[in-house]
Amino acid sequence: MNEVCFKTLDQKKSWSLKTYEANGGYSVWRKILKGELTPDQIIDELKTSGLRGRGGAGFPTGLKWSFMPRNADVQKYVVCNSDEGEPGTCKDRDILRYNPHSVIEGMAIGSFVMNATKGYNYIRGEFMEPFYRFEGALKEAYDAGLLGENLDGSSVSFDLYAHLGAGAYICGEETALLESLEGKKGQPRFKPPFPANIGLFGMPTTINNTESFASVPEILAQGGQWFADIGVENSGGCKLFSVTGHVNEPANFEVPMGIPFKDLLEMAGGIREGRTLKAVIPGGSSTPVLTADAAMAMTMDYDGIEKAGSMLGAGSVIIMDDTTCMVEALTRLAHFYYDESCGQCTPCREGTGWLYRVLKRIMDGNGKADDIDLLLGVQDKIIGNTICALGDAAAMPVESFLRNFRQEFEYYIEHGKSMVKG
């Protein structure tokens, strides 16, 4: 536990350069500055490690980095996505607060691999404590000669800046994030072209999640195989899981991929006394909800969670006990997507509002007999019909809540009140 991103967590001033370096921090970056590592070696190690994008999409990081046209004679950028906002997710906040240098070193290594001399860390606007921590760490790194131009007399240069958001979930989508970084509304771009070709300010750009970057230095220090062996097949390494909701001790846990869900639940102190597990959203609000039985048989890795019928997402495990009204829970999520849709694509802009209004009318006791079919029809027309994944993210909970807990919706429509709460 706590072997990579949280390596310094239990130490005094875990966020300081001194603590980071005492734990082997910046050893990989210094090797690079001495010319002892090549971009190809780094990409190979990352591929071996099995590290996949920790923001939710799970794309292999080594492969992503290899897509950058590193020899193109233009300014290239490396961007960190710290716009953490998926309901249930609060891991990147703790990485930035407690181990910001791991993000800086990870981004620096990425910049070298992709020959990008400038980087931005896009931090959500509400994360002021993490922002100040990150800024403090940047200053320490500059003062120590770890950032800047022609570092240590080498030809390697890297300038890194923190950028703040202003409150928009959609900016966690990588192309919306780029728009936002350019000072525009955060509306996603069409892909292709992908950011590796046309990204920030029209230049080749690679965007990775905070946890992905923070994992890179330790992977390279210990070796890709070391990381891969921590996890299971197809899910290398360890991962941060935010366990929240109806548990006794909600917390972030950095544990090996493949850990049984029931062990993770136990680490979080288990379900509150006298109650039983009812449902689990395993990867953040966008991922399908699971029944207690499906969850208890599941292992926490990409394939294990997929087998159980959901997705690992950002590793945000939301626990619901038997006092939870599933109609209320879904209505809350539907409101979220309705609120956060950027308004660009009609199916999402109209569909998210439609879903919310129908659920709201059920909650108000005015549900109609065919509302369940209506909800299923609307979500089906959103999925796959939008520029970005927010539409899918809004639709997937609807389908899974209705599939797994249909009787609660039927009861609410028929009786005008909650089956659970009365």
Binding site: G85, P87, G88, G125, A166, Y169, F201, G245, S285, I318
Partner: protein, 161 residues
């Protein structure tokens, strides 16, 4: 319209972006100007930011209306941004919001008569392990209870006296 102090703060942000890309600083510039103008933005203030960053007024206005953290009417001195998303909801946020509304004598979205506090329901603030939680200014307050809310609100009132 924009003070010299604010201009200096904005310039720090402008320096982070490539030459000619100063509009990347618009989000922070709007926040800086908002903080200077009783926590809300007028059309004139938005235009002044646009002028300062040499970008079209409509582009700054789009940003000011797209993102959540800008206000376009008076909101009082402190905004309590109460998360009501799933993890906070499961941990009793709804009851606490009602408690806070009663304590302040306002509904969410309204400002107290003394213009000190307004309460806003917001979506996930990314501190779910500390649910239920809210934000005031730069600071997060986590694992809220009615007692904690009393303490925080009474503290704000005392400070303003």
């Amino acid at each position: 319209m924009i003070s010299n102090k604010a201009k200096k703060q904005i310039d720090i942000w402008v320096a982070k972006y490539p030459e000619g890309r100063q509009s990347s600083a618009v989000m922070e510039a709007l926040k800086i100007v908002q903080a200077e103008n009783d926590n809300s933005l007028t059309t004139e203030a938005i235009q002044a930011v646009a002028d300062y960053l040499d970008m079209p007024g409509i582009a700054a206005a789009e940003v000011a209306t797209f993102y959540e953290n800008y206000n376009h009417k008076p909101v009082g001195k402190h905004t309590i941004r109460f998360c009501h998303n799933i993890s906070c909801m499961l941990n009793g946020a709804d009851d606490l919001i009602v408690y806070l509304e009663k304590k302040l004598g306002v509904k969410t979205g309204e400002v107290t008569k003394d213009s000190l506090i307004n309460v806003k329901k917001v979506e996930c603030l990314g501190a779910c392990v500390g649910a239920p939680m809210f934000q005031i200014g730069d600071q997060y307050y986590e694992n809220l209870t009615t007692d904690k809310i009393d303490e925080i609100v009474d503290g704000l009132r005392k400070k303003s006296k």
